[in-house]
């Protein structure tokens, strides 16, 4: 008759977890990696030209080379306008032109921060939509399982009736 199945169910043990971490580590720090999650695919792989540009600009301004480079330029500017003897001081103390240049930078940085923030909130929105779809799918599976268990219980009850009807 039906053979008894003693084989263990597919384990989600240490090996599986290690494989997952390995795949995640490959995707870490690389927005150009092949993504598994559909929202990551939509957000990065299928990004429009404007969106890619927004990501690039945010990645460049929000990086240590930019911050360090800006600091070096600032110090150089002040040095050239205070101590340098081989060059005309074009912006003497209190550095009004430097102020303008930095204000200019801050004026653009603000909107770019919002640009990046908007892109993240857009991603958050479609992530939730996808979660709702997935939740529907999960519910369908559970309903199927429930129907199957009910069927099984019906059969077991019929067997009980058969057995009870037998003369002891």
């Amino acid at each position: 008759m039906a053979q008894s199945s003693t084989q263990a169910p597919a384990p989600l043990g240490a090996a599986h977890k290690a494989a997952v971490v390995h795949r995640l580590r490959r995707a870490h720090r690389n927005p150009d990696a092949a993504h598994k999650h559909p929202i990551n695919q939509a957000h990065y792989t299928d990004a429009t030209l404007g969106e890619r540009l927004a990501d690039r600009v945010a990645a460049i301004i929000g990086s240590w080379p930019f911050i360090i480079g800006q600091s070096v330029l600032m110090v150089l500017w002040v040095y050239l306008n205070v101590w340098a003897i081989f060059i005309k001081h074009w912006d003497p103390y209190p550095f009004i032109l430097l102020n303008l240049v930095l204000s200019f930078q801050a004026t653009y940085a603000g909107p770019i921060v919002l640009l990046a923030g908007n892109r993240q909130s857009q991603k958050d929105r479609i992530t939730l939509e996808h979660a709702a779809d997935e939740s529907d799918k999960g519910e369908q599976h559970i309903t199927k399982i429930l129907i199957e268990i009910k069927k099984n219980t019906e059969l077991t009850l019929q067997i009980l009736q058969e057995l009870e009807a037998e003369p002891v």
Partner: protein
């Protein structure tokens, strides 16, 4: 009164190994630059920073406007203070983006992890369904067997 099994707070967690693989990759394996970025963002975005900045501004304006102080370096309308503000803003923007990029990176990583987990869960669910279906088949066979036996007994008695 806290029980021994009490859940560690976020602050206590920082010093420990994280449990979630995304936190492990993101926090425990962060590079020096990433750690400094996190520190900078949490330093600037704190009440301490705002309070100290306010005190410095107040002292600056006081020294440069109140007659009692003799050494003045930035008299009204405080052009150098303006430059200081601008420098702060010029650094805050990039640090904000730095921190935002890092959060976006974590978000991306978290979704990838979710996809992995969802895949495993769906596989498990389908296995459960399959197993129950097998069980139903077996139960059905038992029922058929019993019915057959009853019919055979009835035939013998008749």
């Amino acid at each position: 009164m806290a029980s021994e099994k009490s859940v560690p707070t976020a602050r206590q967690r920082v010093a420990r190994q994280h449990k979630h693989p995304v936190n492990q990759l993101f926090h425990d394996e962060a590079t020096v630059g990433e750690r400094v970025a996190d520190q900078a963002a949490s330093g600037i975005g704190s009440w301490w920073f705002l309070a100290i900045q306010s005190v410095i501004i107040a002292v600056w304006i006081a020294i440069n406007s109140v007659e009692f102080f003799t050494h003045k370096w930035d008299i009204y309308p405080f052009i150098l203070l303006n430059l200081a503000f601008t420098i702060q803003a010029a650094f805050t923007g990039p640090v904000l983006l730095l921190s935002g990029n890092r959060q976006a990176q974590k978000d991306r990583l978290r979704l990838e992890h979710t996809a992995e987990v969802a895949e495993a869960a769906e596989k498990a669910t389908l296995q459960i369904l399959e197993e129950i279906e097998r069980n139903t088949e077996a139960t059905l066979k038992v029922l058929e067997h019993l019915k057959k036996r009853r019919d055979a007994k009835g035939a013998v008695q008749a």
